[in-house]
């Protein structure tokens, strides 16, 4: 219920929202949890395994119970903590893990069967019959498991990633964090203050203690006003620092648009930050612990600090009649605050016999809660003392088992924390993350005055490290009470299960069972019971579970140790981490200068590396890609075709040692290449296998232009750079990519020369451009380069112009070709033409083939060394046992087959023991009117004329093929030289 005159919410701004289909009203500043509690709704969810009714337990991101789904359709988000979701007009939230309704959940039958669902039950059951595992058990368990569900729809929302840099990152904006930020900011350092909550101030917003003579939240507001006006300060609210990484790098998740009704479409929902800080201060506070006692998981059982927060920050009494159960002085603050607000406090049950005597409420010293009642919401507790048992009617039980410093970030680089007896909790050790210092409650310093002092001191130390002079910052007056605690982890009297991990439904019985079955290490106990593996990642259960395990194995808590803390500190949506990578954003798109013209002609695109290249150019009336492809192939063979080949890598290599360098990286010799000529070359990797093939042109004495295959251009460039830098750094050679500067087009076919001449002022001098010649020409008034080379086996040229003229040249060439009876051709036709000629691509030089395999062993010069030569001569890389490049013609020409098919001797069984080789490239040849394939076959060059069996086990092909010379068409090569 709402308490008048309490809380920091704006009572003038009411906000309507829906939960499980019912309308509710709250105030601006409410979370879903505070607004529902204000209206008396205590039941918010059903637990993971047993489907027990659950309610809000905390007031922060560590909430284990109140996980809801927010939003609808593709925009819905599961497992949102009701304690973190700010309400906004039109917010639509639903409870999870229940059917048909929250009030009646059919799966609560699991609770009755709980003896069968103890820790590790799935390792001991569902074993028989074997067939049932895949068909029945696994699907059923999968359906029953899980908290929340994805919509299954494609997410169209905007997410963002960003980078930030600062001198000091302060994590947390409570008293310690605010003092640290203020101290560093006044000294002029660049400060980022990150706060997970929507509003800065930390626990100052939740408590009634004064700081500097005024309410804590008022003091915080003054400090924030000063910080907000400083240009060297970046205040980041709604930003959780999720991980500590190397080099002062921190990951952080900012909730940008999840609290707004009608957020603009361009506003990202979340932003994942990478923050690089020279120094960092961890002022993340502490989490309150529960105590394990029988039936301690009912709606209405909360942490004592959360009950105070709901009262003081949101003006909400979590119950009408409240009891408090604790082992420390801090629990008494809840009783005092409730009493002062006029809320009935039935009793404070303190396990310590010497608990401080209060004024204004009943104290049961030396008592323990041994049971509770109220299935859909707490209505009664049972308290036991040395003098007996009593039942008390309450609708809210505020529990405090102590406070755990939120030290997770400090442990992200595998450091282990130290046990502090005085607060019965783990604290971080200095230096666990280089450059990161913990202070305040995060370091185990539990009073406000000490937290303020530590924050200032930590900032001064950071400033000193950074070489920045600190300016004076006064410490405000604040409480310095200290708090006594008696370590107390579980109530052993009473009947019923006692929960440790609320989110994964793990009880003290489960931890004892794990120890009994010899899972005695904390790492094993965690995985066997799943304690600590839920969305709250053990924030509410780690220490208590550790204590139970320690007790069960006869050790102390420090020796039992902690598990590893890993990023992220809170769940992070993959959409945020992958922001910008949705759909086409995954990779840059590279377009050629002819792209628009190709797209206009309806050419579908394929991706080669990042480049988009046209597959074929459909003409009106053509219904299949084959029709277009066949036509384009015949256009090249009979008339002239035009193809954009700009995407192939072009590497400009210059210098007195350029020739020598090419001789080193190529197997054959390039120093002997005359100026104005082009030569085909083969490049090996250092392990002797083929890296790439291509042509290199000599443009001048000390000037070469090397081409590479499209997708491997970057790889070859890197290889050349490595060879230069690592093997011959003193050589006078310089290289740079010019792929992008030149647009390059192939014109191929019997009419190619005519097409070219129609573009020139005077017909081309054939003497100046023999086959494999190159040089500069002028085309349509533009300085260009001409190469007389052919990948199609027809007479052909490649014309290169500066890319600004690329589109214009392509359109002109295609128009002329078409008027000559030819056509533009795409990648499908390009592939058919080169297969007909037995020319290899990276389908054949796929990284596991040698020069010998592809029949080019003669290209490895005997007169010189080259990269990879020695390794290529290792035994086993040549010889009859090698799979060698051959051509395949199906015995029945119309029978097609796919790349990846395997080859067997004609009468052999088609099993892997009999494997003779595999097919790499296939096509239908309109020129030869048969299907063709290129393949690798054991001792293939000696088996021309043999018939082999080709089997594709995936596609169901089983045919006979003749092994032939891979150059199927024009084996003399006269057409290209013509």
């Amino acid at each position: 219920m709402r308490i008048a005159g309490r809380g920091l919410v704006d009572r003038g701004a009411s906000v309507g929202f829906r939960f499980d289909g019912r309308e509710h009203v709250g105030f601006a500043g409410d979370t879903l949890a505070s607004a529902l509690l204000a209206g008396g709704t205590r039941l918010l969810g059903r637990s993971f395994k047993y489907h027990r009714p659950r309610g809000v337990m905390t007031a922060g991101s560590e909430e284990p119970n109140a996980l809801v789904t927010v939003g609808q359709g593709a925009a819905s988000i599961p497992n949102v903590r009701a304690t973190m979701q700010e309400i906004f007009p039109g917010l639509d939230a639903k409870s999870q893990n229940r059917w048909p309704s929250l009030g009646f959940d059919a799966m609560q039958v699991n609770d009755l069967l709980s003896p069968f669902f103890s820790a590790g039950f799935y390792y001991k059951t569902f074993m028989w019959p074997r067939a049932f595992w895949e068909r029945l058990y696994e699907p059923a368990i999968r359906r029953a498991a899980g908290l929340g569900a994805l919509s299954g729809k494609h997410n169209e929302d905007a997410y963002e990633k960003a980078f930030a840099f600062c001198d000091l990152l302060v994590i947390g904006s409570g008293p310690a964090g605010l003092m640290a930020a203020l101290t560093a900011a006044r000294a002029g350092a660049d400060v980022i203050l990150a706060e997970e909550d929507a509003r800065m101030g930390g626990r100052l917003l939740a408590e009634t203690e004064e700081v500097g003579g005024k309410p804590g939240h008022a003091w915080a507001s003054e400090v924030l006003a000063e910080l907000g006006a400083m240009a060297n300060v970046r205040l980041m609210t709604r930003t959780t620092v999720t991980g500590a990484y190397d080099g002062g790098t921190f990951g952080a998740l900012e909730r940008v648009g999840l609290h707004l009704a009608n957020a603009p479409a361009d506003l990202p929902r979340e932003c994942f930050w990478r923050i690089v800080a020279r120094r960092a201060i961890l002022a993340s506070g502490a989490h309150e612990r529960q105590i394990a006692f029988p039936m301690n998981d009912r709606p209405g059982i909360m942490t004592a600090g959360a009950v105070r927060a709901y009262l003081n920050r949101w003006g909400v009494a979590a119950g009408r009649r409240v009891a408090i159960f604790g082992n420390n002085d801090d629990a008494h603050r809840t009783a005092r605050d409730l009493v002062s607000a006029g809320v009935e406090v039935a009793a404070l049950i303190d396990v310590r016999d010497d608990a401080p005597q209060p004024a204004g409420y009943r104290l049961i010293a030396g008592g323990q809660v041994t049971g509770t009642r109220g299935r859909l919401g707490l209505r009664e507790i049972t308290v036991a003392t040395s003098s007996g048992e009593e039942r008390i009617e309450v609708d809210c039980l505020a529990v405090s088992g102590g406070w755990n410093p939120a030290l997770h970030l400090a442990c992200h680089m595998n450091g282990r924390p130290a046990w502090d007896e005085t607060i019965a909790a783990f604290v971080p050790k200095p230096g666990m993350v280089p450059g990161l210092t913990a202070c305040g409650a995060a370091a185990g310093t539990m009073t406000t005055a000490a937290a303020l002092a530590e924050g200032r001191r930590a900032a001064e130390a950071a400033l000193s490290d950074l070489g920045v002079a600190a300016k004076a910052v006064d410490l405000p007056q604040a409480e310095n009470g200290g708090t006594r605690i008696r370590a107390f982890w579980e109530v052993t009297e009473g009947k019923g299960r006692a929960w440790l991990d609320f989110a994964n439904d793990v009880t003290t019985k489960d931890v004892r069972l794990a120890a009994q079955e010899n899972y005695r290490s904390v790492e094993h106990m965690k995985r066997y019971t799943t304690q600590g593996m839920a969305p709250d990642q053990g924030k509410n259960s780690n220490i208590a579970a550790l204590a139970v395990l320690a007790d069960a194995t006869g050790r102390g808590i420090p020796e039992t140790g902690t598990t590893t803390f890993r990023p992220p500190y809170v769940p992070v949506s993959i959409a945020a981490m992958g922001a910008g990578g949705q759909g086409a954003g995954f990779a840059p798109q590279r377009y050629t200068t002819s792209h628009a013209a190709s797209a206009e002609r309806g050419a579908p695109m394929i991706e080669a590396g990042l480049w988009y290249r046209p597959s074929y150019f459909p003409r009106p009336g053509e219904t299949t890609w084959r029709e277009a492809c066949d036509r384009e192939v015949m256009a090249v063979r009979q008339s002239v075709g035009v193809c954009d080949v700009s995407t192939l890598g072009k590497i400009d290599i210059q210098g007195k040692d350029a020739a020598r360098f090419l001789d080193l990286v190529y197997t054959n010799t390039f120093s002997s290449l005359p100026v104005g000529r082009v030569r085909y070359g083969l490049m090996l990797r250092e392990d002797g296998l083929v890296l790439d093939d291509g042509t290199t042109a000599r443009l001048g004495d000390d000037h070469y232009l090397t081409t590479t295959t499209t997708a491997a251009a970057g790889l070859v460039m890197r290889h050349l750079e490595f060879v230069h830098q690592a093997h011959c750094p003193d050589w006078d050679v310089r290289m740079i990519s010019v792929t992008e500067h030149w647009a390059q087009f192939a014109i191929a076919g019997p009419k190619a020369r005519d097409l070219l001449n129609s573009m020139l002022l005077a017909p081309l001098d054939d003497g100046a451009f023999p086959f494999m010649g190159c040089g500069e020409i002028e085309i349509r008034g533009v300085p260009a380069r001409l190469f007389r080379i052919s990948f199609s086996g027809e007479a052909g040229y490649e014309i290169a112009v500066p890319a600004r003229f690329g589109e214009g040249l392509f359109r002109d060439l295609v128009a002329r070709a078409e008027s000559m009876g030819g056509a533009a051709y795409g990648m499908e036709a390009l592939n058919v033409l080169r297969i007909e000629k037995g020319f290899i691509t990276h389908a054949e030089i796929h990284g596991r083939t040698t020069a010998f395999d592809i029949g080019l062993q003669g290209m490895v010069s005997k007169k010189k060394d080259c990269i990879g030569k020695a390794a290529s001569e290792r035994p086993g890389l040549s010889g009859a046992q090698r799979e060698q490049l051959v051509g395949l013609r199906p015995v029945q020409p119309a029978k097609g087959f796919g790349a990846g098919s395997h080859l067997f001797n004609k009468d052999a069984k088609a099993v892997s023991a009999n494997d003779q080789g595999y097919v790499t490239s296939v096509c239908w040849s309109p020129t030869l009117k048969t299907h063709l394939g290129l393949a690798f076959l054991k001792d293939g060059r000696a088996r021309h004329g043999e018939t082999v069996r080709l089997v594709d086990h995936l596609r169901g092909t089983d045919i006979l093929c003749e092994v032939v010379n891979p150059v199927f068409f024009d084996p003399e090569g006269g057409r290209a030289r013509g």
Binding site: A162, F163, Q589, D652, R734, I736, V738, E740, H741, G781
Partner: protein, 179 residues
Amino acid sequence: MARLIEKTPCEALLPVTCGALTLSEVVGDRVTSVAPFRGQTTKLAAALKKLGLGWPGPNSALAAEGAAIVWTGRDQAFLIGAEAESLVGLAALTDQSDGWARLRLAGPGAADVLARLVPLDLRGFAPGQAARSQLGHMMMVLTMPESGVFEIMVFRSMAATAVQEIHHAMRAMAARAAV
């Protein structure tokens, strides 16, 4: 004789504005890569001084009247605006004029827009500095020709992606400012 028609890398894509921020194309300059041959660094630096420039050290850029030279890597720089004839024989020269899209981002908050795409610390990035880094997943050259104005060079073929991603970041920042 009629010449072939020319297109710039960002033709039809730019300029775009978003609030006070503008993304526009820089066109017209010749861009030449310069990589000194062995033993020629002194002569090359002298020849560049005659153009009003000099040899830029790593991460730096020099500017003169209508010309600039930008460090782009180990033993490599881009000469922009000036002709490179006086450098022939002293360095490997290639024409890069058509290989790059040159984008200019100007207006308050430009650095915050780039913070969505560039992993560099841009606090204090000033005229006279140059960086090779990433723009999203693209490789880029970053300079600041005048205070507060960024020039981003990416491969010509990636111009559309670069414009799209920068424009998207501009709109996202404007949306933040609006709430």
